[in-house]
Amino acid sequence: MSGAGVGAQAASAAPAGAGAAEASSPELARSVAAAVPDPELPMLTVGDLGILREVAVDGDRVTVWLTPTYSGCPAVHEIRRQVSARLELAGFGEVEVRTVLSPPWSSDWITPEGRRKLAGAGVAPPRSGLDSQPAGPVPLTLREERGPAVDCPLCGSAQTVRTAAFGATACKDLYRCRDCGEPFEHVKEI
């Protein structure tokens, strides 16, 4: 998991949990939060996506830090709500979900398990290591796509072509396989 970012220092400032609540383990809190599904990529959990940045437990109080995938990602609201609800159901008394935007999320943070789940659902996972963020001017990409071919998640062929740079959600684009002929979605590298 990546660095804790802006919010991490805040954890120590949390007041002690109120009263008699059994001290709940940070492992439990983390596993409950990590299991929340993404509403737009329901085959993936928050943990698979790599957007769960930090979980801090103090008595029965838990604080969770999440990172949205895109500036305008509307799924964040639902994820926040679900994380709160599930942690309360798991017995935590006071749940606070905070957002951390720096450093920004990268598709490289999707776990190997998450990539397997995407492919299993017919969505090509993002290629790794294309997340270069040069300090200088950003180069144009006028024709060739960056990096190696996107493999078809249905037949495994590398003979695929991108048909649209933007898909049904902010994080995906559209491809078609030249071999099996099927169209499929692909999680964009950012």
């Binding site: 895109y70 935007l101 933007f166």
Partner: protein, 308 residues
Amino acid sequence: MGFDTAYEAISEEADTGHRWAFGTGCTDPLAGVDTTVPDGVDCADLGAYCLMLGDDALIMSHRLQQWLASAPELEEETALANIALDLLGQARLLLSRAGTADGSGRSEDDYAYGRGEREFRNVRLAEMADADFGGLIARLLVFSTWRLALLSRLRASRDPVLAAVAAQGVREVTYHRDYAARWAIRLGDGTDHSRERMRAGLAAAAPYAAELFERTHVERRLAAAGVAVDPPGLRSEFDEVLGTVLGEAGLEWADAPGLPGLGRAPGGTSAQAGSIGQAGRDGIHTESMGYLLAELQSVARAMPGATW
């Protein structure tokens, strides 16, 4: 609820849940932020700068949204919706930051729905109505080329909020620029008809380009403080990128003189011009801005404070 950093405060939803349109519960004031404005930075300047960049994104996003159900193909409609959503996300963060930085405590909704035309600080390129798809592509190419050059430099801002918004925005606008560039090539290198549409679109956008590189007093002071990007410094990258794309497209960039709103070149019609010496950053807009805001703000104006 208190926040430990400015960044948390503006990104914190505080469980209001839905904040995606007027009236759906966005009433949460932002709190506890002034302490994180970097030393030596004027809070009012920082707020004004956030409004400039936020208004660029908000108004451009609205123009893109007007293409929904009008784009030539479903794929393009999806693309334009995605680009509009990215820009709306950037606008929300920047407008929220403006309210915390300038001390007014105004929310993103207050800024988007409660201001009059003269209070909007977007460049006039963002508000232009598009004559056709070629016009949209030309404008999006110019806008995203300029904004990407700006955001890539803003990543080094001393203000941690602006730096974070820029770092995410660079990844998004990279896609926007590539999208516009590819379409520009496809249309420019297409039929006589498509080339003419692109040419006309570029000619329509050109008079609004000079304004992108003008430096306001706010930007001058904040650039000196290491917070803002100095607009004239974006020109060379802009020219190079546009030259590359238009070269591939078989098109030319007609470097038009700035509109007289900037006090540089006389001429232009009153509908285009605004008053001498001022432009979008000063709240001087074109005729089309009033119509745009009338649509954007109509529900909020008709039913102030309504929720559902």
